[in-house]
């Protein structure tokens, strides 16, 4: 089984991805992570305006069979959350890198993005 791991994103060992996008950092979970979880049925995110540290727990994702914590890849203030996932959590399964995104952050320190795993490094971890 091979998983989609786009080169433009940075990854955490805990399977979240982050990417720079129009001055913010967008965050979600990897294709591997959604496949491991199976059918996603519930997500819980922080409020807009909340400040997160890198690797801080920012929410919870639940599939039918599992509950998993989510960890922020970088530090920053939450500027948006993907409210579509409240009624359609299955978007995380269907489109983990696009429609299934989770947070947007105003990054406190953009160099933290460089500390994340590259696509190749992350691929080594999951394969």
């Amino acid at each position: 089984m091979s998983f989609e791991i786009p080169d433009d994103k940075g990854y955490q060992e805990t399977h979240e991805w982050a990417v720079r996008e129009n001055g913010t950092v967008r965050v979600g979970i990897s294709d591997f992570a959604q496949d491991e979880l199976g059918d996603v049925v519930f997500v819980e995110f922080p409020d807009v305006g909340e400040a997160l540290d890198a690797s801080e727990e920012f929410g919870v994702i639940e599939s039918i069979k599992a509950v998993s914590d989510l960890y922020s890849p970088v530090s920053g203030e939450v500027t948006a959350t993907n409210d579509d996932l409240i009624d359609a959590p299955e978007l995380v399964n269907e489109s983990p890198y696009d429609d299934g995104w989770m947070l947007e952050l105003d990054p406190a320190d953009e160099t933290e993005l460089d500390d994340l795993l590259s696509a190749d490094e992350y691929r080594e971890q999951v394969e």
Binding site: V41, F42, V60, I64
Partner: protein
């Protein structure tokens, strides 16, 4: 040492994800729990349930012995019928639940849950010796593969499977032509909770109109070394234990070891809502204790609820009354794939049991320290 079903490699090749359950490594999901669940509600799906135990009891006292250990007597059953009952200790606490197939007058096969096989075989042998009965008790769990074919189209799937010899030809196997037992009509007409021999894919199987999904369906037992041939003849969605769990929760069915367990959740059949499977006219271990419970009614009952706040109720989460006082614990819960709502069950004081307070009783489930509102719902959650 984890046990594996006869088809474990076959399932792995099909991409199944596995989980450990009752000491067995079983497929939890083949494709998606939601998709598998939906197949069973809308058409038909097949499950490998070879982790279930099979104990054969034979001999002149086979039925007498079993009647004294199960809450629902099998001597009331005609040969070729199955019955559902609980196995209780002398206090009336459920040790397990089981379906017993009465194959002939002196040959029974009962199906305890995964990992209970040696314990139950030993329980039968010990009591046989104490009561000086004449019966042979054999743990046949590894001899059999067990599959469930479930859903509104299950009868079509069985009729089609019975008409093939497993080699891709549509003709009936020659043995069937001799005894005529396999005609499609008779499989379709197999009554609920009836059991018979049937030739499926050219393999002699035990076929029963039973299941644990809330849908029409069949369970079949086949020799372990013929399991692949029988499994493969069913051209429908393979389903794992994940969908089996969501389906049985929607149907309000109990999971042994979770909704009741002699160690962690000791409950009587009345508390667990299966009083219908207790015959107090029968003389079984636990009968007197249960007669006393029946007289007064159980103090707590397994009660269904639906979360009205967002969240997913899961095993072990506390249930509170509107004031926040803990009144019970979730024994089973999930996001219902059919209803698209979070549902669960737990033992609550009898005053909360569905009925007069159904629908309007606000209780709450504590999820990660937060109280999520819920309301009482009658079981089952879906029409079965």
């Amino acid at each position: 040492m984890t046990r594996t079903p006869p088809l474990s490699e076959h399932h792995a090749d099909r991409g199944a994800k596995v989980t450990e359950f009752g000491g067995w490594e079983m497929p939890v999901q083949f494709d998606s729990i939601n998709a598998e669940h939906e197949s069973v509600r809308a058409s038909v799906g097949k499950f490998d349930v070879s982790h279930m135990s099979q104990i054969e009891v034979t001999g002149p006292d086979a039925a007498t012995l079993t009647d004294r250990l199960v809450t629902n007597p099998v001597t009331d059953l005609n040969a070729d019928r199955a019955g559902y009952g609980a196995i209780t200790d002398s206090a009336g606490t459920m040790l397990d639940d089981t379906i017993t197939y009465r194959l002939t007058d002196d040959r029974l096969l009962f199906v305890p849950n995964a990992g209970h096989d040696e314990e139950m075989a030993e329980r039968w042998r010990t009591h046989r010796d104490d009561w000086e009965l004449n019966a042979k008790v054999e743990n046949a769990t590894t001899d059999w593969g067990m599959f469930a074919v479930q859903g509104p189209d299950a009868a079509d799937a069985l009729a089609a499977a019975a008409s093939t010899d497993g080699n891709g030809s549509g003709r009936a196997a020659s043995g069937d032509e001799r005894n005529g037992r396999n005609d499609r009509a008779s499989i379709r007409d197999l009554p609920f909770f009836a059991v018979r021999e049937a030739t499926i894919a050219g393999v002699t199987c035990l076929l029963a109109r039973t299941g644990y999904t809330g849908e029409d369906g069949f369970e079949l037992l086949c020799p372990a070394d013929e399991a692949e041939r029988v499994w493969e003849v069913f051209d429908c969605q393979p389903c794992g234990l994940g969908a089996r769990d969501t389906l049985r929760i929607e149907a309000g069915f109990l999971l042994s070891g979770q909704d009741f367990d002699p160690e962690t959740e000791p409950r009587t059949p009345y508390e667990a809502g299966i009083g219908f499977a207790v015959s107090l006219d029968s003389d079984f271990v636990g009968r007197d204790a249960l007669a006393a419970v029946a007289e007064d009614g159980p103090a707590e009952r397994l009660t269904g609820f639906e979360l009205t706040d967002r969240g997913v109720p899961r095993h072990g989460y506390p249930i509170t009354d509107p004031e926040g006082t803990e009144i019970g614990t979730v024994t089973s819960g999930t996001m219902s794939p059919s209803l698209r709502t979070p549902i669960g069950m737990g033992y609550l004081p009898a005053a909360y049991a569905a009925g007069e307070r159904e629908g309007d009783e606000e209780i709450a489930v504590t999820i990660r320290g937060e109280r999520k509102r819920a309301r009482i719902e009658a079981l089952p959650f879906i029409d079965t």
